[in-house]
């Protein structure tokens, strides 16, 4: 029996399999090493980094919802300097392609972060998270305005030779226009989706549960929205898509790939089943074997035929 080829091509970036972990759900790659060797993953995306350290939001930062969860971590992170000095050397030891997720509040922030990423380390790509409020333009997220989104990608592109992933927010009227904008701006790939904005209220205190009032909805609840956006964007752009949003099982991963994702990212599911990424790799392989595909990439976009 010939082994199924799991090799995944994301533009210039080649991964040994299409399953990675999503930013903010996998720490800096070490926490889940107690469960399995992270080098079995296609790639690891680390927690979002900002130029300066951030203490993030007050607790509670998480709240459960039907088949989902809200988080309002508020981009707590050690900042660029500590990331490079302390975390990157440790990431190097995981022997896994690392995707660094960067967030900023101005174009300069993005430029600074991009230019600071070494091009000869374990860093395989930079994921540009444009869901942060654009302080200069009055707080509206970069990711909701096509022109700003394109600009962020352009400035990031200028400052690094590393492959660039644009990570889009689903909280928009028209995801396709945004996807085209970041493609124009120079994104090599598009990550879909970040969290949906949501909130919950505590019946006892009669106040919002989250310290930050609102938070991002993730987990299985958002899967149909994410699959839809992957499907729409696949029709409209040429760059490969990394699909995420509620992926918990290999069936979910297949669904995203049929919709048009070249790779998938596992987020919230790690919290529920730490072995989810491995089970997805196995399940994808078995699906391809039983359906008669020689390579997992053959199923990408099949739902569009």
């Amino acid at each position: 029996m010939k082994p199924i080829d799991l090799t995944t091509h994301l533009g210039r970036l080649t991964l040994k399999n299409p399953v990675m972990t999503a930013s903010g759900t996998y720490g800096f790659g070490e926490e889940y090493a107690a469960f399995y060797d992270p080098s079995r993953l296609g790639a690891i995306t680390v927690k979002g980094i900002t130029p300066l350290p951030r203490r993030g939001n007050p607790v509670p930062r998480v709240a459960e919802t039907p088949s989902g969860m809200l988080n309002a971590v508020g981009l707590e992170n050690p900042g660029l300097e500590a990331f490079l000095a302390t975390y990157l050397p440790r990431l190097e030891k995981l022997k896994t392609p690392i995707i660094v997720n960067i967030s900023g509040f101005s174009l300069d922030d993005y430029a600074l972060m991009a230019s600071a990423m070494p091009e000869d380390s374990c860093i395989a790509a930079v994921e540009v998270n444009i869901s942060c409020p654009n302080i200069k333009q009055g707080g509206l997220a970069f990711g909701t305005d096509p022109r700003s989104a394109e600009e962020v990608l352009r400035v990031t592109r200028k400052n690094t030779k590393l492959p660039l992933i644009a990570k889009l927010t689903p909280n928009v009227t028209d995801i396709v226009t945004l996807a085209k904008a970041v493609e124009n701006g120079g994104a090599d790939m598009i990550s879909l989706i970040n969290t949906l904005l949501g909130m919950r209220i505590d019946l006892k205190t009669r106040k919002p549960i989250l310290g930050n009032t609102m938070g991002g909805l993730s987990g299985p609840a958002v899967l149909p929205v994410a699959v839809r956006m992957v499907y729409q964007v696949y029709k409209a752009v040429r760059v490969p898509i990394i699909g995420m949003g509620g992926i918990s099982t290999w069936q979910d991963a297949v669904e995203f790939m049929l919709a048009g994702a070249t790779a998938v990212s596992v987020g919230t599911a790690n919290f529920v089943n730490p072995l989810a990424p491995l089970e997805i790799i196995e399940g994808l392989t078995e699906y391809c074997r039983q359906a008669g595909f020689a390579a997992v990439r053959e199923i990408v976009g099949l739902a569009h035929r």
Binding site: T25, V59, N270, V272
Partner: protein, 298 residues
């Protein structure tokens, strides 16, 4: 760290509290103050695992005992699990209590905060450490139902306080603590004065050094506490004022339970005075009470 454990017992012991005994790999490495992160269902709702403290460790049998109170959908679902079924468990997780080698250990518990202290009681060498439990609860029914199945069988000194005065001290468990601290201070003062030291500096003197770094020969007096945040803050402040080392076990809403999501943080003042985040699930749930910053706004 991810195990399927067999349910040996899942039994209501009173006052909406259940005892859950699990057999599997967790017992072998569990330590006092650690917890498990339990999956309560098999579908995507409820989605997240639930953190429950380890309240008993039986290494020979490979069993751990948990006690949980039914408060919401997850714990309600857990009550339906039957002996013989298996549960998915992440654990043991977290950094637990310091187990003192000598001296006196005062345990302060609020309500179901009692449970995580059991493993500490079991772990200390009771011939070298004098243990006393101060426990506060709503009322007699709660204390008797829950205590009757647990604490009162443990052959350990205890005193209880109830809010409605239906059993023990009428009021807060922190009143009992305050009295104990003052009593201890008076005794120590007498002791030290006898040794020729000046009384005034004694209490603050106690406060230096970690719990395990007690100078030999002088019996250490330490406090460990678990319960609602307000109570823990009061305990930490009382102990702080008296210079008594105190460890507190915090609770926070958790997603991953293993330090990956930054969902469950608290704020601490580090030794150099700066504020820093700690993850309750991984860096805790047990923290040095003097370190914890109780109000984010501070």
């Amino acid at each position: 760290m991810l195990h399927r454990e067999i349910v040996i017992e899942n039994q209501r012991i009173g006052a909406d509290v259940y005892r859950l005994v699990l057999k599997g790999a967790v017992a072998a490495t569990a330590r006092p103050g650690q917890f498990v992160h339990l999956q309560v269902g098999t579908t995507t709702d409820p989605l997240l695992r639930r953190p429950i403290s380890i309240a008993g460790i039986d290494q020979p049998k490979g069993e751990i005992t948990l006690y949980y109170r039914v408060v919401g959908r997850g714990t309600a679902k857990l009550t339906g699990v039957r002996a013989g079924e298996t549960l998915s468990v992440i654990g043991p997780v977290g950094t637990g209590f310091t187990v003192p080698a000598v001296g006196e250990l005062l345990l302060v518990a609020g309500g179901i905060g009692l449970f995580p202290l059991f493993t500490l009681i079991e772990a200390v060498d009771r011939s070298a450490v004098r243990v006393k439990v101060l426990w506060g609860g709503e009322n007699r029914t709660f204390i008797q139902e829950v205590g009757g199945e647990t604490l009162f069988k443990m052959d350990v000194d205890y005193a209880v306080a109830t809010m409605d005065g239906s059993m023990g001290h009428a009021g807060l468990v922190t009143d009992l603590l305050q009295a104990a601290l003052e009593d201890r201070a008076a005794r120590s003062l007498a002791h030290r004065t006898a040794e020729g030291q000046t009384a005034g500096t004694a209490p603050s003197d106690w406060g230096t050094g970690a719990l395990t770094e007690r100078p030999e020969g002088r019996a250490a007096f330490t406090v460990a506490a678990c319960g609602p945040k307000g109570m823990l803050q009061a305990v930490a402040e009382s102990c702080g004022q008296m210079g008594v080392p105190v460890e507190v076990s915090l609770e926070e809403r958790m997603a991953c339970g293993v330090g990956a999501c930054l969902g469950c943080v608290c704020l601490v003042r580090t030794t150099d005075g700066t504020l820093a985040r700690r993850r309750v699930c991984k860096d805790g749930p047990v923290f040095d009470g003097r370190e914890v910053v109780w109000d984010e706004a501070d």
